[in-house]
Symmetry: C2
Subunit: 435 residues, 2 copies
C-alpha cells in the first residue's frame, strides 16, 4: 500500500526577542522572532519540518492558514508528491477557494511556504542528503519541472531555464568540492540594529571584521542625523575596504529615499536595502537610477515570482534577496534563482529571524553549484542568534557558511526549544506573562 501523508501539524512558536531589541529596525521596533512551524508526517513514520518566519503577533493567523491548506495535503501518497513537487506547489497555491486569500501573497502564501519547506525537508531526509545537494544533483529537466511558468514566459521560457541549468552542469562537481572545502560567503547584520548604542555598534563592527566578514549591514531610516553619525562611526571602525550595506526596511517614499541616500553617500554605502515599499517596482527602479553607484537590494518582502520577474524586467534591483518563506518555499525559489540567472543579477538571500539562515543557505549553495554557477557578488546574510534552538544549526567560520551535511533543510527545532517557546502555553510565555 502507498505511503500516505497522514498529518500536517502547525505550531505557533515565538521567541520574546523584543526584550533585548535584537532585530530592531525602522519598521520593526520590537519584533518577537516567531515561526509557523510545520511538521509533515507519513504513515510509515517519515517526518519533515519547515517554517514560515513572522515577527510575533499574528503568527496564529499563519498557523490557521496552514491548517486550511493541510486539508489539501493529508491523504496524498508521499511518493507522488515527491515525484512532482511542481504540481504539489500548484495544488497549494491554486486551490480555487483558498487562492482568493492571496493570490500567492501574504499569509496564505507564507503558509504554503512552511508546508513546501517541510516536504523538501522530508525529501532530503529520505534521500539522505542536505537539500542543497539534493537540488544540485537533480537533472536539469527535473528542476525545470518544478517551475510554474504560467506567468513567467514573457521573461523566462522553459527552454531558457533548461539552457541555464545545462550550462552549469559540467562545473557542478568542481564547485561542490570547492563549496565543501571553503564554504559560502556570508555577511553580518549583527552590529547594525537601531536599538544598539554607539559603543556596541563600533565594538560589534570591529568584531565582525576580525571574524572574517567583508560586508556588514546597518539599519537606517529612523533619523537622518543619527544615520549619518552611525554610518560614519561604522566606516571609521572598519576602514575603507570593508563593504557597509544599509537597510531602510521600507521606511521611505521614493524621493525621500534619494534625498536620504545623498546624505549617506560620503560614507560609501555598498547597497541600500528596501528603500521604499516592497511592492513599488517602478519606485525601486527610480531610486536605483538616482543613487548609483550605490546598489539597490530588495526581496525579503517580494511576495512571489511574478513580482521578482518584474523587478528584474524593470531593472529595479542590483541585488536579489530571496526569502525562505515569503515566496512559497524551496520550489518557488528555484524559479526565482532561474530568473536571477537569466537577468544576471546576484542573489544574496535574506536571513536572520528564526531559521532563515538555516534554510536559505541551501538555496544559495544550490544556486552556486547548479544555477548561476558563480559566487561572484553573492553573499548570504548571517545573524548570530537563535541558532542554538535548531538540531542542525548553521556553522559560520571566517565569514563563510560551511555547507550543511545533515539530510534535510536544517529547519528542525530542538524538541525542548519548540515546547518551551510554544505560544501562548510554552514555559517561556507562561513565565513572561507572570512577570
Amino acid at each position: 500500500m502507498a505511503e500516505l501523508i497522514t498529518a500536517v501539524e502547525a505550531a505557533d512558536i515565538r521567541f520574546p526577542t523584543s526584550l533585548d531589541l535584537d532585530g530592531s529596525d525602522a519598521m520593526n521596533p520590537e519584533p518577537d522572532y516567531s515561526g509557523t512551524y510545520v511538521t509533515v508526517r507519513t504513515g510509515a513514520g517519515a517526518v519533515g519540518h519547515g517554517l514560515a518566519f513572522t515577527v510575533g503577533r499574528g503568527n496564529e493567523v499563519t498557523v490557521a492558514a496552514v491548517r486550511a491548506l493541510a486539508e489539501l495535503v493529508t491523504g496524498l501518497p508521499v511518493e507522488e508528491v515527491l515525484a512532482d513537487l511542481g504540481a504539489f506547489s500548484r495544488r497549494l497555491t491554486g486551490d480555487s477557494q483558498l487562492r482568493w486569500l492571496g493570490p500567492e501573497k501574504g499569509v496564505i502564501h507564507m503558509a504554503a511556504a512552511a508546508i513546501v519547506n517541510a516536504v523538501w525537508d522530508l525529501y532530503g531526509r529520505r534521500e539522505g542528503k542536505p537539500v542543497w545537494r539534493l537540488l544540485a544533483e537533480m537533472e536539469p529537466e527535473r528542476l525545470v519541472s518544478l517551475v510554474d511558468f504560467r506567468y513567467l514566459r514573457d521573461a523566462l521560457t522553459p527552454g531558457e531555464a533548461l539552457e541555464i541549468l545545462r550550462r552549469a552542469e559540467p562545473g557542478r562537481a568542481e564547485r561542490t568540492e570547492r563549496l565543501l572545502a571553503e564554504g559560502f560567503p556570508a555577511y553580518t547584520t549583527t552590529p547594525g540594529w537601531l536599538g544598539y548604542s554607539d559603543e556596541k555598534l563600533v565594538r560589534l563592527a570591529k568584531e565582525a571584521v576580525a571574524d572574517g566578514f567583508t560586508l556588514i549591514k546597518l539599519k537606517v531610516g529612523a533619523d537622518p542625523e543619527e544615520d549619518v553619525r552611525r554610518l560614519r562611526l561604522a566606516r571609521e571602525a572598519v576602514g575603507p575596504d570593508i563593504r557597509i550595506a544599509v537597510d531602510a526596511n521600507q521606511a521611505w517614499g521614493v524621493e525621500q529615499a534619494v534625498e536620504w541616500m545623498r546624505r549617506l553617500a560620503p560614507y560609501e554605502p555598498y547597497w541600500i536595502e528596501e528603500p521604499t515599499s516592497p511592492d513599488d517596482i517602478l519606485g525601486h527602479a527610480a531610486v536605483r537610477e538616482a543613487v548609483a553607484p550605490v546598489k539597490v537590494a530588495t526581496g525579503e518582502h517580494i511576495h512571489n515570482q511574478v513580482m521578482f520577474k518584474q523587478f528584474l524586467q524593470a531593472g529595479a534591483l542590483d541585488v536579489l534577496q530571496l526569502d525562505a518563506s515569503r515566496t512559497a518555499g524551496v520550489t518557488e525559489n528555484v524559479a526565482v534563482l532561474l530568473l536571477a540567472a537569466k537577468f544576471g543579477v546576484p542573489v544574496c538571500p535574506h536571513a536572520g529571524g528564526l531559521g532563515l539562515c538555516e534554510m536559505v543557505q541551501h538555496l544559495a549553495m544550490f544556486d552556486y553549484v547548479a544555477v548561476s554557477g558563480s559566487a561572484e557578488g553573492q553573499v548570504v546574510e548571517y545573524i548570530d542568534h537563535l541558532h542554538e534552538h535548531f538540531t542542525d544549526p548553521v556553522r559560520v567560520r571566517g565569514g563563510r557558511y560551511l555547507a550543511p551535511s545533515a539530510p534535510g533543510l536544517s529547519a528542525e527545532l530542538r524538541a525542548d526549544s519548540a515546547a518551551a517557546h510554544r505560544h501562548p502555553d510554552g514555559a517561556v510565555w507562561r513565565r513572561k506573562d507572570a512577570r
Copy 2:
C-alpha cells in the same frame, strides 16, 4: 466619559453558492460566496457592520486576522477614531508585528478592510447619512487627511489631491441632485458565468438588455473555441450597440492573453478584464498595448494603493476596478479614487460576491459627486444574487443603481441570514452536511 469601542466581532458567514454554479469562472470553478463579517460596538450601544468578501474555504483565516487586529481597536475612544480615520487606517496597517503578514496585502489587509468598513458604517449611522453622502459632503482638506501619502508622493502629492477635490467642489450639489434623480450606471455579469448553458446565456443576455443595461460581461479563459462561440452567441443576442466585456480572471500568461484576444476580436469585446496575474503590472501594460482598442480592466485583486499607483504610472489599465475589501476598505479607496482622477482613468468598481455591490456603490457615487466629478465611462458591476440577505439591499432599476438613502455603508446582514449562514454551525451548513 469618552465613548469607547468595546468590541470588534468577526463572524464566518458562507453561502453554499457552489451548488448552483453561480459565480463560476476560469479560476473559481466553485465558489461559496462568503464574508468575514465584522461588527464594531461602542459602550453607548452604537454599531457598525462591514465585511471582507472571500469565496469559501479559508474565510476562517480572515476571521482570525480580524481577531488579531481587534486588539488594536478595542478600547479606543470612538470620537478620536472618527476624527482621524487616516490615522486609524495607519494604526491597522502599520502595527510593527502584524504588518509582517502583508505588508498591506492578502489576508491581513482584507481583515483591515472589514474593520475599516465597519467603522465607516458606524460613522454614517452616527451622522444619519449614507457613506457616499458623508464623504461627498466632507471638506477637501479632511478628505486629503484620509490618505497615506508615504509611498504615493511620486505620483500624487497632497497638494494635487487637494486641487482635484477643490476642482470638483462647485459641482457637488448639482451632481448630488442628478444622482438622486437618475441613479448611477450599472453593468451586469449575470448572463456570463462559465457554468451556464448556451440557452441560459442567450436568455439572460436578452433580459439584461431589456432591463436597461448597456454593458454585459462574459467570463472567458477556460477554452478558446468555447469562448468564441459564447461571445458570438452573446453578440448575436444583444446586437452591435450593447457593450460586451470579457473577463479571464487571471487565466492567461501575457502572450497567451494577446493571442486569445486576437481570436475574440471579431466580436468586439469592450474590455478584457484580468487577462493575467493581478500582480503583473508590466504584463498588463504589454497586453494593453497589443489588444487596443479593446480596453484592459483590472483591480479586484490589486492589493493596495502602491500597486494601483504603478498600474496607472505604467499605463497598464484603461478601466480601474477597485474593490471594497481587497484594499483596506473605504479609507484606502479614497486614495485610489484620487489616483484614478489624477491619471484620468475611469473607475468601474468590482462587485457581485457578497455585499460588494452594497459597499462599492457608495464609493462610485462619492467619486462622481466629489472626486472625478464625472460618470463618463464609469459603471458599477451588478450581479443579482444574495442581496435579499442585507437590511439595505441595492436597488437597480433600468440598468442604474439608485442612490442609497439609509445611514451607513449598506453592509449589514439581516440577523436571520447571518445566523443561518454562519459556518460551520448555522442551519444552512448543518443541513448541507447532513445531505
